[in-house]
Amino acid sequence: MKLPGWVCGLALLCGGLVIAGPADAVDTSPPLPNPQLQQRYYALTHELRCMQCQSEALADSQVSLAADLRLQVRELLVAGQTDDQIRDHMVARYGEFILFRPRMTWRNAWLWATPAVLMGIGLVVGWRIVRARARLSDSDESGSKGESLDP
């Protein structure tokens, strides 16, 4: 029995994809000896922006500046700094833009408040629509002869 060429091709492609594995191997530095530190390192390098490529996190970026900054995060962690201290360290140099998650400050309050406000408006509008419909069907059932929709 002979398989058609495209089947072989597809099989090769799938096999290749499996072997290649996830393309998450940008950060090739060895893990930190302490698993807790490694976890914080992972979180921090994913929430700090690569300033050169901007929509990538430090952890995902190939540029050498990102590697330097990853090294700095690692060193600060080993030196015993807290996550906030490390964020402050980066913000002092690169500005708040380096944080993917904007800070909760009065200046950013509108940014954080907007989704909640929009959600509130949506809920109020939705509730009123539902109530209006309920009233309509109520009056349909109770007084069907009076307010008929038919002309």
């Binding site: 300033m51 050169q52 901007q54 050498s64 500046l65 330097d68 900054l69 700095q72 913000v91 002092a92 140099r93 690169y94 500005g95 833009f97």
Partner: protein
């Protein structure tokens, strides 16, 4: 018809808000530096021309200086080189170079071939000083006042237009004008050119 007015108005409002947001978003290639108005980050770097005399942030005190972060691997740096040479010729503000993640031999060859606009060059092999300066895309140029405060930063190639428009007015605002008698000579050096 009436029931469409409110949603439509809301949609238009949203559109306007988003458009204004897009238009007013800061230029991603020229982000404001948190260093403006702050003292220059402390550093000591090997001197490219004389290894016995390191270059430190102390060298930036007592006079205006232009700190230029560059590297021979940086394409835009070649493009700005002529402008830097011209600024050197003007002889108003000395240029201090920070050679970022570079090989000393490459840097020396580059300066020998293209001319040397720098009064001094520190070599930042590991890139740590550049990080302290918040550098993310060479070339970057910082204007430092005599008290060692960062006054202005330009990201990207220096040109004579940028120099004339953004840097020189900030310098002449303080050293160009004679100090009036009776007026204390403590005008903030970081004042911009008549905003």
């Amino acid at each position: 018809m009436n029931r469409f007015v409110l949603p439509l108005a809301a949609f238009v409002l949203l559109l306007v808000v988003l458009l204004v947001g897009l238009k007013r978003a800061p230029d991603k290639n020229n982000l404001p530096s948190p260093l403006i108005g702050k003292p220059v980050p402390q550093f000591t770097l090997p001197n490219l021309f004389d290894t016995t005399q390191p270059l430190s942030s102390e060298a930036l005190k007592g006079h205006w200086s232009l700190v230029n972060v560059w590297g021979t691997w940086c394409v835009e740096c070649r493009a700005e080189h002529a402008a830097l040479l011209q600024i050197k010729q003007e002889a108003r503000v000395p240029i201090i170079g920070i050679d970022w993640k570079d090989q000393d031999e490459d840097a020396l060859t580059w300066l020998a071939q293209l001319g040397n606009p720098y009064e001094r060059v520190g070599t930042d092999h590991e890139g740590r000083v550049a990080i302290d300066w918040g550098v993310y895309g060479a070339p970057e140029s910082f204007l430092i006042n005599p008290s060692g405060t960062v006054v202005y930063k330009h990201i990207g190639a220096m040109t004579s237009q940028v120099w004339q428009r953004e840097f020189l007015p900030r310098v002449s605002a303080t050293i160009g004008k004679p100090v009036m008698p009776g007026v204390p000579a403590s005008a903030p050096a970081a004042a911009g050119p008549g905003a």
